[in-house]
Amino acid sequence: MLTYIIRRILYAIPIVIGVNLLTAVLFFYVNTPDDMARKILGEKNVTAAQVDNWKRDHGYNLPVFFNTPEEGTAKLTETIFFKKSLPLLWFDFGRSDRNNIDIGGEIKTRMWPSLAISLPMFTLGLVLDLFIAMMLAYYRGTYLDLWGVVLAVVMMSVSTLFYIIGGQFLLGKVLKLFPISGFDTGIDSVKFLVLPVVIGVLSSLGIGVRFYRTVFLEEINKDYIRTARAKGLGEGAVLFKHALKNAMIPILTNVVVSIPFLFYGSLIMERFFAIPGLGNFTIDAIQAQDFAIVRSMVYLGSILYIVGLILTDISYTLVDPRVRFE
């Protein structure tokens, strides 16, 4: 088991390096340091000398990958890539371009609000998805199933933006049940979280229910279920004991991979509800073109994805002893 995990992590290293190279190419060639400097220095009275000074002070005056005039290893080390991109590998995110804040520290503090909203959204959503999907599977073929599926398809055909706009308008403004947006720390945050969580769960309900319903139906049509039924087990018992257990693999694939991303927050939700999480952080950085932050978030995102993949593989072995490591 341990060797398997280690091997998986070793496999991940080239991917991480690849991501790092790719982001360096994208971000340093797309947004030249001149652009960055001008944007950050402001709108009034920006001279070329100031741009040059800014670049020099922030280390953006170097070439991206290869510094020909330098000697020896300095050819490689005196570059933007070596100074700015490589340190990401050991989670040294550096400072933001725009206001010189410590990105690592910022990520640590912003992670919690993100988690505060995404964790309840995720668990509540999953439970609700599974429950409704199982109901539909149980009553398959009845009009309940038919309309349930129709409703799910209708719900997934509506853009998330409509859910958010409509929810804020109805529950926040007209009914005055919740604060329209905002956030607070500790227990005071609860009243702010209800609205986004409800909207978040609703907006993903359609897709979730439809997906898990097919998963359950696939299991139900298998031979062992027929055997179980033949044995005289009630439909409910069949569904909850046998089908659910065996449907765990597809469910896990879907679920485990997204667990690390809970830290990552949701761009749109956090924006609309003014949650000071990582999603909001990212959108701000995109709009202000602070690429030190965007780069860090790209890197963090890929790490979380890879962690998710590894976790998925490990979790398989826990639910299904037939899956072994090669």
Binding site: G18, V19, T23, V153, S157, S159, I283, V298, S302
Partner: protein, 390 residues
Amino acid sequence: MPVILATDLIIFFLVGAVLYFVIASRKVGTLKSVRRELGKNRLALVCMVFLAFYVLVALLDSVRYRDAVIDDDGASAVSEDGGVIYSPEALSLLDRALSGMRTRTEKTYSAPFATHSYAKESMEGADGTIVRDYPPLKYPRAHWLGTDRVGNDVLFTALKGVRTGVVIGAGTTIVIIPFAIFFGVVAGFYGGVIDDIVQYIYTTLSSIPGVLLIVAFMLLFGSSGYQGGLISEVHVIWRAFVLNDRLFWLCVILGITSWTDLCRLIRGETLKLRELEYVQASRAFGIGRLSIIYRHIVPNVMHLVLITFVLQFSGLVLAEAILSYIGIGVGPEMGSWGNMINTARLELSREPVVWWNLLAAFAAMFALVLPANIFGDAVRDALDPRLRYR
């Protein structure tokens, strides 16, 4: 003078492919059964009608040409070197067909079928006094879905969004199909190091958060591209083509962020096919690998391509709206539902609420996405009976 955008080619390809399937389904065996399956499903047929309507609108909006500039004397204007001068405005067939709707603009908001403007204005009475009242519209009862802030017909704007929606939904998959098939088949068929490399490429790409990849890519390619509106001579190549098209780049990057699923599916299927008896047999007969791939593998993974295509369609249409919200979607002059929603967000806080813009975008989008979802399911069921339940 015709003008062809890169995304127009996508629409043409889409229409061509649809026609091909329709014709081929009369002859080819497997497609025949699919046709029969779909024919049995009434709901799917209704959805098909909806989709056909959308594709038709998109097609009409993709055939465009520039008029020659007409001189004062009625003849077309000629430049110093004798060439005819064309207007920089390339109107599509849709623009021309609905020119009434396009040109009959009001000053600002008006409700559906209204006779008067929606906002009060200070107007000068006949005696010079200033009255604040609802001014009458220039074209009363002409706007079925009302007008927006600058008085453009909302129905027309919604129809202009159709092309963007269809291009994003269809184009994204079309653009990446060749790559997905190539990489998927090669990886599955040859295995070994090639397989490792392909897997490495798609794991790396899919591990980068999609939105951020899109942002970087759109800043690199999208911002210099054609964003809708007037055609600038800088963008025209070979007299009629505008290949540097922001919407096209959006399709490409959305494709890059979503191709892994298709590639993985094709790879898996190829792995299976490779071991099948008839493929092994062809090998034993000494038929070249390339021709095996071409004859036996590729045709047998096409159903996966089709399924992915219809299933991804609706999600991509929805994604466009969100990207436009973040500000990395299509340009502001390109009609799109994302842009409409983005504008309409603010209108909800008006009092009285301006609801028709949001409703139009919602309805137009819903009427495309819902049928696409249902039809997608139907196609999948028909093509891949293993996945059918009930």
